[in-house]
């Protein structure tokens, strides 16, 4: 697995669903993509069902939807889906053998942990995920493991059904809002505890309030953090300028080109629209 941004072929590909199974409150969608480039951790793809993409709630969806690669192995791309609206609903109902369009891999991936201070000589990574935002942390954990980097996953969920998504990662520490699994409270409490242990590079993906809390904590603790943002997207490849977030010092960057992974230091705060479904 490489940390290098993979390039997407310049056309959406018509691919076949190899499986689509329940994972607690989520679905794990596997797609056969033998010829597709392997994504770097943090990259995403734009997905749309090949048939009947439309005609749902308010006659939507129309545009493709962005999903982080949760895994990519042996020509199989995996995505973790949460049904939050007409687009995700249509993808969630796809059955084995049905077709979808995929454009990807897209976007700027995670970088390996800093070897330089403040990280200790043996770099340590903390993977902080919230809800369906855990998806890119799975493929990231694989990549870190392959390099022998300790990568502890701290995963927060709204409830026990969602917490089952944690199966996607190795040996995660879990927090739930309703206390039904793991720590009864916020995942950021787990992060604060871990940062007491020693410095680390923090990787985070999840709802905007979680990302903002992670950002603030890491700023305060002066540890580097890479945030995988989300944003409403029309294209995913820099064409529409629709997916921007405001950056520190003014101006906007496109989440699909400069991100989805941005150094937390580039942001004054994480905008309410820049996170995963809560």
């Amino acid at each position: 697995m490489s940390w290098q941004r993979a390039l997407s072929p310049p056309a959406r590909r018509l691919l076949t669903v190899s499986s689509n199974r329940e994972l607690g409150a989520y679905r794990l969608l596997s797609v056969t993509d033998d010829d597709g480039p392997a994504p770097a951790p943090g990259q995403f793809a734009m997905l749309a069902a090949a048939e009947r993409w439309g005609g749902g709630e308010d006659e939507r969806p129309f545009l493709p939807r962005a999903f982080s690669y949760a895994r990519h192995r042996d020509g199989q791309a995996q995505f973790l889906l949460e049904d939050v609206g007409p687009g995700t609903r249509r993808l969630c109902e796809l059955r084995e053998g049905e077709s979808l369009y995929l454009l990807g891999p897209l976007g700027t991936p995670f970088r390996p942990p800093d070897a330089a201070p403040p990280a200790p000589p043996a770099p340590r990574a903390l993977l902080v995920g919230g809800g369906v935002g855990i998806a890119p942390l799975a493929i990231l954990q694989d990549a870190l493991a392959a390099e022998g980097t300790a990568a502890l996953a701290l995963l927060g969920f709204r409830d026990g059904a969602r917490a089952q998504g944690a199966q996607l990662l190795h040996d995660p520490a879990i927090a739930t809002d309703d206390g039904s699994a793991g720590h009864d409270g916020l995942v950021t409490e787990l992060l604060e505890r871990e940062l007491q242990v020693g410095p680390a590079t923090v990787y985070a993906c999840g709802p905007a309030p979680m990302l903002e809390a992670v950002r603030a904590i890491c700023e305060r603790e002066q540890v580097p953090a890479q945030l995988a943002l989300e944003s409403g997207m029309a294209c995913g490849f820099g064409a529409c300028f629709g997916c921007v977030v405001a950056t520190r010092g003014g101006g906007y960057v496109r989440v699909c080109v400069e991100g989805p992974v941005l150094d937390a230091a580039r942001l004054d705060r994480v905008d309410a629209h820049a996170g995963a479904p809560a």
Binding site: L7, P9, A48, D58, F62, F237, G238, C240
Partner: protein, 301 residues
Amino acid sequence: MSVEFCGLRLAHPVINGSGTFDAIAARRAFGEPFAQAFPFAAYVSKTITLQPRAGNPPPRLWETAAGMINSIGLPNKGLDGYLGEDLPQLCGLRTDSACSPAGESMPVPLITNVMGSSGEQLAQLVAACEQRAEISALELNVSCPNVETGLDIGADPRQLERVVSQVRPHTSKPLIVKLTPNAADVPQCAQAAQQGGADAISLINTLRAMALAPGAHGGEPWLGGGSGGLSGPAVRNVALAQVAAVAERVTIPVIGMGGVQSAAHARALLDVGATLVAVGTESFRDPAAAVRITFGLMSNG
């Protein structure tokens, strides 16, 4: 299939709509070879203004029934930034050879789209572009509904004719006027643009539209810019009506756009009198949409 447009030779009749394809970002996403297999026969830049603009605060997008509203707000580096930083990167694009008449890749001429809030500003933009050989033609955006220029120049035929004739002397390059669809009598606007000296007309730009924030109950707009512009299949038949009416009225070439998703949609615009067809929103769904459409036109005439 190769087309002559205002003295330019194009590989095929399919180009992009301004602001719907960033060739520089696309090379970053798809790699350098993409520049040599470019999906469009000519490349239209995003709208450039005199001063740099950051664009509107997010959210900037709203998905509608069979379409989308954008409230991008014309972010751009300003004239100097565009000429200095972007232009060098936009030269040397060549068409996908599979979409060219003799199976040969052809150069992709660059059309620069500019907008100003007055005839003077537009003249200044055009005069600066006139100096640059990399630019093959100019498009005046007199129609963008999501920026508060005060007046919408393009909706008033008399004002439009005045502005175009003010700009005309500053360039010998083909001058395209991109109309607003939010006008009472679009063919009359087209005629005014021709009278003012336009070499071609392009339409339609987006229809003024808005969306409310879901869940909110005070009528709060969703889009950071308040309102925005509708594009995509939802506007296709509005575009077809306007393009047909304009093509009937003017004697200069027309670039038709609005909701084109397939060769049949492109063919319809050509059939009612357009010389070129532009693809906008559909490229978001598939960056190779224009290739697919061009293939379709080539195989079905």
